[in-house]
Amino acid sequence: MRARVTPWLLLLPALTLLVAFTHWPALATIWDSFLSTPKKGRPAHFIGLDNYRGMVEDEVFWQALTNNVIYAVGTIPLSIALAIAMALWVNSRLAGRGFLRLAYFTPTVLPMIAVANIWLFFYTPQYGLLEQITQALGLPSHNWLGDKRTVLGAIIVVAVWKEAGFFMIFYLAALQQIPPSLAEAAALEGASRAQYFRRVLFPLLMPTTLFVLVNALINSVRMVDHLFVMTRGGPDNASALLLYYIYQVGFSFWDTGYAAALTVVVLAALGAVAFFQIRFLDRRTHYQ
């Protein structure tokens, strides 16, 4: 009898908190998305799909969704490619690889909100470092964060800078587990360096790439801190991302019903990532 109770007692504290702050709020979000936002003298009541109808007509929502897709597509492949290059360099016999590893990884340990201040200064018109460089090259002045066409790109650069070194670590760990005999065998077979990378290393790194990809997808939803400092979603919502928009709707406009509906969209996106992970990550990673 005791043996049957013990594991549940051990799990109880963690499970209670998980249910209270993950499972319950996730389900409550779905329920609340069908309710109106409570107002003075009018408690929340069931309104069916009205919040979702409003969402379909909400241009800002579509803009934030589109921006978020561009943000993900702009950030993920570039940071993964850079992470692989960084890991290969740091793992090779390059001069100064100790310093390089330090340089690549440093952005990971810095708070996003703090480095956003530095990047804001970096992009500042007239005074910023970027402007000084472009002026020295004789290029016209440009307000990178104030222009609807360049603001998202500027945000993506910051995200890539923050993430690439973090992903590098996972590739570095994977590279160090690959036995050197593989390279020797490939060399004996007469493979070129490029062939070795494409045919041997890259497939062996596949599990890592999928793991990093899942992390990167989650981060493209979660990583919005720099918007608070650099753009506040502007100009004209050109840099609004979904989670930032949820914050605005939920805590600036206090429209909690609509914020819940928006959160459901984010949860659905994360659910799709989870499905992808279960479908592909577990099946294709039997190299090790």
């Binding site: 998980l18 979000t29 952005p107 530095i118 989870a274």
Partner: protein, 278 residues
């Protein structure tokens, strides 16, 4: 960390090219930080003028320190990080032990429900969790910032994997000598998992030192705000555009993690590696 590939060394020309590319990227990656250090340690007049021999000064740090209650923010963040880590380690150890070494009905289901948190993080459930904190009367407390993170799926997962590698014979031997489940956990499993605890601690501390959105929402006063939120309030309202002071405050906020990272670089990198390998 020794380089593994002894064959496939690039030809001298392409090796030089690659070294140059690696260094260029390294320079680009360190540039924003270097720029911030320059601005913070020089008078405002030199914040965008790069002259050798510009006078060094720590006045910006002094001004920033006095312009906002940073001492209080440091205290709040330290309390928060310590509280979250302590809770995560205790709850994670207990749960991981149950999942690794007990047979019971529903174990796989429970494990699956726990892993769900890896996807659906508290970070995106801000609207409902704010409502919960309100109902519990915890709004604007340090406890409220940490509470949603006390049970960490990642920590439970990591420790479960580690506990599973402990030889069952050690467990059985201790049981034969009459040790209780809890005693076995503390005497056998926890000591063997020390490197994993260290790795997890570094990842957790840097995550919660840097966390911003949830603390921003749930705190509302100087007494509870962590550094990240304090920095944002400070740089967006109080200072106008005095970049030198904002940059000094920025560096100050990041300093403990940065210094810790520089001192324990190898452990940091290895911790993140260890935490990432599943």
């Amino acid at each position: 960390m020794t380089p593994t590939a002894t064959v496939f060394q690039p030809a001298p020309a392409s090796r030089a090219l690659e070294t140059a590319a690696a260094w260029l990227l390294g320079a680009l990656w360190i540039l924003p930080l270097a720029y911030a250090v320059w601005t913070a340690f020089h008078p405002a007049a030199y914040s965008t003028r790069f002259e050798i021999g510009a006078p060094l000064s720590v006045q910006n740090f002094v001004n920033a320190w006095h312009a906002a209650p940073f001492a209080r923010y440091f205290l709040n963040t330290t309390l928060l990080v310590a509280m979250v880590l302590a809770a995560q380690l205790v709850l994670g150890t207990l749960a991981a032990y149950a999942l690794a070494r007990f047979e019971f009905r529903g174990r796989d289901l429970v494990f699956g429900l726990i892993l769900l948190q890896l996807m659906v993080m508290p970070d995106v459930l801000i609207v409902e969790n704010y409502r919960t904190m309100n109902a519990l009367g915890l709004r604007d407390t340090i406890l409220a910032i940490g509470l949603p993170y006390f049970a960490s799926a990642f920590g439970i997962f990591l420790l479960r994997q580690t506990f599973k590698t402990v030889p069952k014979e050690l467990d059985d031997a201790a049981r034969v000598e009459g040790a209780s489940a809890l005693q076995v956990l503390l005497k056998v499993y926890v000591p063997l998992a020390k490197p994993v605890y260290l790795a997890y601690a570094l990842v957790s501390v840097s995550y919660h030192w840097n966390n911003f959105l949830w603390p921003l929402i749930v705190t509302n006063s100087v007494e509870t705000r962590p550094l990240t939120v304090g920095l944002q309030v400070f740089s967006s309202t109080d200072q106008g555009v005095d970049w030198s002071i904002i940059t000094a405050a920025t560096l100050m906020t990041s300093a403990p993690l940065l210094v810790g990272f520089l001192l324990f670089q190898r452990q940091f990198v290895q911790s993140f590696m260890r935490a990432g390998i599943r």
